[in-house]
Assembly symmetry: C2
Homo-oligomer: 316 residues x 2
């Protein structure tokens, strides 16, 4: 362990927390994992990342905790849980935070920090991170990493002002880079969230609704048209909200996805395994923003309603 | 048999042809059934309609044909097959038609007569009928009739002009009424088709996409909102096409459906049994009309594309 390095807490391990936490631990950072259902498996067998591009990473000795009260105070708290569990996770985040800690929500969707902020004391920094990665939890303590891994960081709110914010972001970026990960500062966190939503809104929901992976969706002209039209709706709302998304963003994402291995987005896995889907962050919050701006998202809204019907039936 | 009565041919029996054909035969009309896969079952066991409102109707002796060449020339030809089989059924219709016969398409969707017309000689009358009925084929020669049964008739094209068209429609209406069925003349066949589509477009597709019957769709606020928004899109295109649909039509249909027994629309059965879905008549034709009129149907189009994705996967 490097004594001068920050102490990192991974809150809610799953696929994202497991992958980034394992990468940071392998790079020599002092990483502590708060685990719930996976605690026994990780304590006994460690944490395993089966990575297609990077090979197998098996972290045998994991600093794992079932109870947040046993964790040491952490300087960085990486939240890889689903947005749906943020309200119940917030007290543990507060408890695990060192003075002036940086809380980073490694989550998809819109306005997730806005919802988290009131649950944290003003003395904590709140950041957001967008993960460009194909990864899923295969079994307790086992993460499958198919491709990518880049991470984009932005400051949301907290005690830092002006250049201090940039310094904090740079510190986070440097930390991930030391772990061998492509990382950079987002010019605007909110814009980065909208930009990522251009991918997430179509593929997550359609994967559930049509029970299809990205390859199946890209191999059929009708699903491609659906994906494209939902992308266009997200882009138009993001632009109405003042975010200058890059020209040709949707086209570029379609092309990238066409060349990705067949991938099942996280919402597919959430649904298949009976976990709640992130409908609030990925659909309801953007639709609320669209309504405030007076912009229509009819296809996105139809997809959202179909998914909420599916969710209601599943939980019935 | 009443010698003076018209001879009726049922082309493509299934649920609609079976129900109306059996009702007409029971009323003493001279009815002839062209059958394909159901021929053996009907010849052996007759035709059975298990009707919730009317009880069991068992037609023991059925004038059934496997080959159209054996049928006598018919004055009325009722086409109860799916629209998807119209092109392949047209030669049999022509062959079974008496001189000046009336061909009635008892089918859902838009522009189905437009597609059939070029396949028939000009000497045949072409009419359309909208069936307001909850009915499905339970087994070969067995029809389950849940509720309703009204039929609305309109003249599409053919040798009759002016008042002669009305006289033909009235003849058809009288025929169904004699069989104990609520029947009336549609003021405009095209308008009647659009009006019925207000129900068919949402319920047929959503039943397949969400694997849900009408009760499940009406019990969830999200699916109700989806149904309503698709109804509104159909109404707006119908109005743009010049059809004065009644005020409050969507609201009335929602209310009626809420009070219907749990019903699986025909497209659900078609999909479940691996038959082609009527995507052309119920979605593609209305969407083409909307495009010509410059009216958007984003939710209907999204539903159509999702269904065509499902159809492509099923036939793959």
């Amino acid at each position: 362990m490097h004594e001068s390095r920050p102490r990192i807490g991974i809150m809610g391990t799953g696929a994202i927390g497991g992958f980034y936490g394992a990468m940071l631990a392998q790079a020599g950072f002092d990483v502590h994992f708060l685990l719930r259902s996976e605690f026994e498996a990780v304590r006994e067998h460690g944490l395993r990342v089966n990575s297609v591009p990077r090979g197998v990473l098996h972290l045998r000795k994991v600093q794992a905790y079932r109870d947040v009260a046993d964790m040491p105070p952490c300087d960085w708290l990486l939240v890889g849980a689903k947005t749906t569990s943020n309200p119940s996770l917030a007290p543990a985040i507060v408890q695990a935070a060192a003075a002036g800690a940086k809380v980073v929500l490694l989550q998809n969707g819109i306005a997730v920090e806005d919802a988290m902020r009131p649950l944290l004391p003003d003395t904590l920094h709140l950041l957001g991170g967008l993960c460009f990665i194909c990864v899923h939890r295969e079994a307790p303590g086992v993460v499958e990493h198919q491709s990518q891994g880049a991470i984009s960081l932005g400051y949301h709110s907290g005690p830092a002002l002006g250049p201090d914010r940039q310094a904090l972001i740079d510190e986070g970026v440097a930390m991930f880079r030391e772990a061998g990960l492509d990382s950079h500062a987002a010019a605007s966190l909110e814009q980065a969230r909208w930009q990522k939503l251009v991918w997430n809104a179509p593929y997550n929901g359609l994967a559930v609704l049509l029970q299809a992976d990205t390859r199946a969706l890209m191999d059929n002209p009708d699903s491609v048209a659906l994906v494209e039209s939902i992308m266009r709706e997200v882009v138009s709302v993001a632009r109405a909200a003042g975010h200058a998304l890059p020209e040709g963003l949707a086209e570029k994402m379609l092309k990238t996805t066409r060349h990705m291995p067949d991938y099942l987005p996280s919402m597919y896995h959430d649904h298949a395994q009976g976990r709640p889907m992130e409908l609030e962050a990925i659909y309801a919050a953007p639709l609320a923003a669209a309504a405030r701006l007076g912009v229509e998202m009819p296809r996105t809204e139809a997809l959202f309603r179909a998914l909420r019907f599916i969710a209601a039936r599943q939980s019935a």
